[in-house]
């Protein structure tokens, strides 16, 4: 293997690996370790009191619920946009394709600011929606909408390469065997893009779980109603209740890690079945 040759021939293996490990330990491992250490100092009853208070439970429910809802919307919207970008030609397609990445590049505070302003009564969307009774600002709906924006690129970008690699002959074969276009879409195309769709869903979900910057602008942050877990952590910090903040942070981190773990399992599974 060339890789075994590399270590004998190419310089800098120990330097680069050593620096990588040092940097990651100093910057990442020590703060994470300190957090878990702090949490482990809590007695179980303290931990439980912080983690399972009514207000905290409402915050987890809202965080997970809003993240799930936005990820589901992102799947529907993402499949549509990816399909159109890969399969069809139309004017300004390149521009649209580039704009898919905007949520990755736009600071979350800007997204939050704009979304809160669009949906208030005089806003560009609010002036049509508020008379219909749809409150997109300072509401749970507002949280879901801004999370759709934040997670928008994930499904599109995981799906695009898969759709591009899809063999069109299979679709022709299905048509020759008498399937109509809808049957082909449901029975032939959908199963082959499903792993990518699930990966995109999980990535968008994981990203939404920890989101703070945009939500804090649009949600109004009312305890029990529109307060997500990260906002609750900040609220506890501002009361100098460090232990409670840490306990809630550990719960949030655990949910995130489990999601990341699930994504990894999923990718391995789909590689085995489709690789």
């Amino acid at each position: 293997m060339t890789t075994d040759v590399n270590r004998r021939v190419l310089p800098g293996f120990s330097l680069s690996l050593g620096y990588t490990l040092l940097y990651m330990s100093l910057l990442v491992a020590i703060p994470l370790g300190a957090g878990f250490l702090k949490a482990s100092h809590l007695s179980f009853s303290e931990f439980w009191a912080a983690v399972a208070s009514e207000r905290a439970l409402a915050a987890y429910r809202l965080t997970v619920g809003a993240s799930l809802a936005s990820a589901v919307i992102n799947v529907v919207v993402g499949v549509l946009v990816a399909w159109v970008l890969v399969r069809y030609q139309f004017p300004l397609k390149g521009l649209l394709d580039s704009l898919v990445d905007l949520p990755f590049a736009l600071p979350t505070a800007v997204a939050g600011l704009v979304y809160s302003d669009l949906f208030v009564e005089q806003g560009w969307y609010g002036r049509f929606l508020v008379p219909l009774g749809i409150q997109g600002a300072y509401s749970r709906l507002g949280i879901v909408l801004v999370l759709v924006f934040i997670g928008f690129p994930f499904v599109v970008r995981t799906l695009q390469p898969v759709l591009e690699g899809l063999d069109k002959d299979v679709e022709e074969a299905a048509a020759c065997l008498g399937a109509n276009r809808l049957q082909t879409a449901l029975r032939v195309i959908f199963p082959s893009i499903l792993p990518a769709v699930i990966t995109g869903f999980a990535l968008a979900f994981a990203r939404s779980l920890g989101e703070y910057g945009s939500v804090v602008f649009v949600s109004g942050n009312m305890p029990f109603r529109t307060e997500i877990a990260p906002v609750l952590i900040v609220a506890r910090l501002e009361e100098f209740a460090y232990t409670e903040a840490t306990a809630i942070a550990v719960v949030l981190l655990t949910i995130s890690f489990l999601t990341l773990f699930a994504i990894n399992l999923l990718e391995r599974w789909s590689k085995r079945h489709h690789g």
Partner: protein
């Protein structure tokens, strides 16, 4: 090599024109609703009072001006250190096999799953007054949290994978042949890096830096927690946007937000341009390799 004449009837993998038009319209509508209209709204709101008011909103407010300066200090330090890390990590991971390589690659993605607020909190637990190093820092009159070093640490944590993640797949795609050749011809390590590696990865590296910078300048959650929101002291641009929003100074908030939005647009433009260049360079390398890869008669 005569191409078959264009087939005029509907191919089986083509959708009927009506379906096609409907789907394109739906996709454009979705993109307009979630992405384009909000983006346009930032600039319309920012310039609602005219260019003069816009400019005054940016430069006449001392705290806003200070937030811009602070961001211009914090982001380059964080990006610079992540750049060095990114090159080192990509060299180790894309060029060598070692035990734990897969795990290391997965760990690099970690900051993407940790909520920024949690990052800020953990930095507080380490360096805050009641934190692990709090008493020691205080005894030596050092400040990390609620000061510049804390802002840099939080920003660097949240953005540290960006450069590495751009470089690893790129360096794997380029392959090690040229570097091995350079070393066997007697190049020293830095010579090889400067003359072979750097020119090969430059466009991907540049994009990694630009994206990392956009993320660093826009970082909110982690910085929010460690900054202590001292106006004119520890407020970066996104934090200042939030404060102006809380003070109902929407024109000021949108003016500053428009600067950040411009940064995002430049980032997207750079991505499109640099991806195109990288693809062209890779295709070129592939062509050269296939021309010279006739195996030698003896080794």
């Amino acid at each position: 090599m005569a191409e078959p004449r264009a087939v005029t009837h509907l191919r089986a993998h083509d959708d009927p024109p009506a379906v096609k038009a409907a789907l394109i319209l739906a996709a454009v509508a979705v993109m307009a609703f979630f992405v384009v209209v909000p983006l346009v709204n930032v600039f319309v709101q920012a310039f609602a009072g005219g260019v003069g008011v816009y400019w005054r909103n940016l430069v006449a407010d001392a705290d806003t001006l200070h937030s811009i300066k602070l961001t211009l200090i914090v982001a380059p330090i964080a990006v610079g250190s992540n750049l060095v890390f990114g090159i080192a990590a990509a060299w180790a991971i894309a060029r060598f096999h070692f035990p734990g390589r897969t795990l290391l690659t997965a760990l690099i993605d970690l900051p993407f799953t940790v909520s920024p607020v949690v990052v800020g909190l953990f930095l507080l637990l380490l360096f805050g007054l009641q934190g692990t190093f709090g008493p020691w820092l205080r005894a030596h009159d050092l400040k990390i949290v609620f000061a510049l070093p804390g802002l840099v640490l939080a920003t660097a944590f949240v953005t540290f994978p960006v450069v590495a993640r751009e470089l690893i797949p790129l360096m794997e795609a380029i392959g090690a042949e040229e570097e091995v050749a350079a070393v066997s011809l007697g190049a020293r390590g830095w010579q090889m890096f400067r003359l072979i590696t750097l020119p090969n990865i430059k466009w991907g590296l540049l994009y990694g830096v630009i994206l990392c910078n956009a993320r660093a300048m826009g970082e909110f959650g982690a910085v929010y927690v460690v900054s202590g929101h001292i106006a004119g002291k520890t407020d970066t641009m996104p934090l200042r946007v939030e404060k102006l929003f809380q003070e109902y100074n929407l024109p000021g908030a949108f003016a500053l937000a428009s600067v950040l939005a411009m940064l995002a647009l430049v980032t997207l433009f750079a991505k499109t341009a640099l991806e195109w260049k990288t693809r062209r360079d890779l295709a070129e390398a592939e062509r050269l390799r296939s021309n010279t890869s006739t195996p030698p008669a003896r080794s």
